[in-house]
């Protein structure tokens, strides 16, 4: 056999493997969607707002509800203590609700 036959066969196998892997999400979809629907119902019933990815501090556990407008979370001069703070970007806007001061345009 020619040398290229082996290499083409190996590349073909890898492509087949990738195709099988890419088909896997389609194959697993009914199970995944069922699980997500249940999880979503639970979220709606409990009114959850954040995933439990970083549980070490309140501003990483619930970044969407944390008072990120406070510059130092724990006491004056306390810089971010936990490494997860690196993963939680600072908010660009204060959201749609305004605190005390409203811009003229929003009134």
């Amino acid at each position: 056999m020619r040398r290229s036959s082996y290499v083409f066969a190996a590349l073909g196998c890898l492509t087949l493997l990738l195709a099988v892997e890419l088909y896997y999400p389609v194959f697993a979809r009914p199970h995944r969607d069922g699980r997500l629907l249940e999880e979503r119902t639970l979220v709606a019933r409990l009114g959850l707002t954040d995933p439990a990815l970083f549980t070490e501090a309140r501003y990483t556990r619930n970044p969407s509800l944390a008072d990120l407008n406070t510059p130092f979370q724990d006491h004056p001069g306390s810089f971010d203590h936990f490494p997860s703070g690196t993963f939680v970007p600072s908010p660009a806007t204060p959201g749609q609700g305004w605190l005390l001061f409203q811009p003229e345009a929003a009134k």
Partner: protein, 380 residues
Amino acid sequence: MTPFLRRQRALADFTLAALARRKGKNIALIAVYSVVVFVLASAMFFAASLRFETTTVLEGAPEITVQKITLGRQDLIDGSVADEIAAIRGVTEAHPRLWGYYYDRINGANYTVMVPDDPEMMPDPGQIAIGEGIPRARGLEWAGAPVFLSRYEGDLKKFDVAKTFSRDSALMTSDLMLMNEADFRDFFDIPKGRYTDVVARVRNPNEVATIVQKGSNALPQMRFVTRADIARTYQKLFDWREGLLTALAFAGILAFVIFAAEKASGLSAEEAREIGILKAVGWNTRDVIAMKMWEGGLISLAAFLIGTVAGFAHVFFFGAPLFAPILKGWAVIYPDFPLSPHVDGLQLLTLALLTTLPYIAATVVPIWRTASADPDAVMR
């Protein structure tokens, strides 16, 4: 087989023979290249899966959450605020909630303690429902083991576990502890009529902005968080994290670029001689470039396939063990959750183009310069 295909096949054979002459160097190149693709593909699959699951699941999150802010901090809110919010036209329902965090002195973990709104989910007095991470963090190995909570030295309160949430919902419920309202008020010493925040449901999602505006005019000391704000926070968080992983991989990518550029552009004397000989025996510039295209194409295709196949298996079949330590941070509880298989076709195409094309270009361009030179000059 057409003459064109036969010619290409012969070129591929010749290229493979040439690659085999520098076996060690080329195997090392494919290995490093595959690792680079593997890291990028894993980060991409991981972020796409988390983003998909979070956005799907958080569609059930409350439409509007109202918090009271005192001195720049969230404060307990009066139950009557719920009635004021419910009176705004367009709000179907508003009710106060009780929830907070509990720091477990025994193992240093933080739990999210909550009183469910749904009466069906409310545990009986003295009982709690917990997420899968709490027994794991506590080392409670047998089912039905009670949980003892301590607020200060010498204090111990026993709760029976009525229910444990399954691993299927671990991403949202891993550190969750549902408690009866009376137990919650007693344990955390919360006076009657005071709550953590207020959530509201609205009839028409398009009216949320108007409702928030009316609400902030009527209750200026409150902060309104909408579901769109939550979705934005997470979109940004996952983009940021994926970017961060890519940034971590950047040093590796840079090293690879230097390695590849050195190999591709700084032609070794041996390679230059080889091209000179090929031209002297009658190959034209097109043949030499086609041969080098085969070389770049085979190496980058092999590396892309190996890296992507391994990255997919790493994330979806093995649960991304290499990323877990980075994401865990210092938290004691980290959810043990199944990653939802989800692939973004456009992202995969971008990865394929970004990893293979530059390498092929880096191989072909310097060869073209050498190949168009006089063979006699090159060989000497």
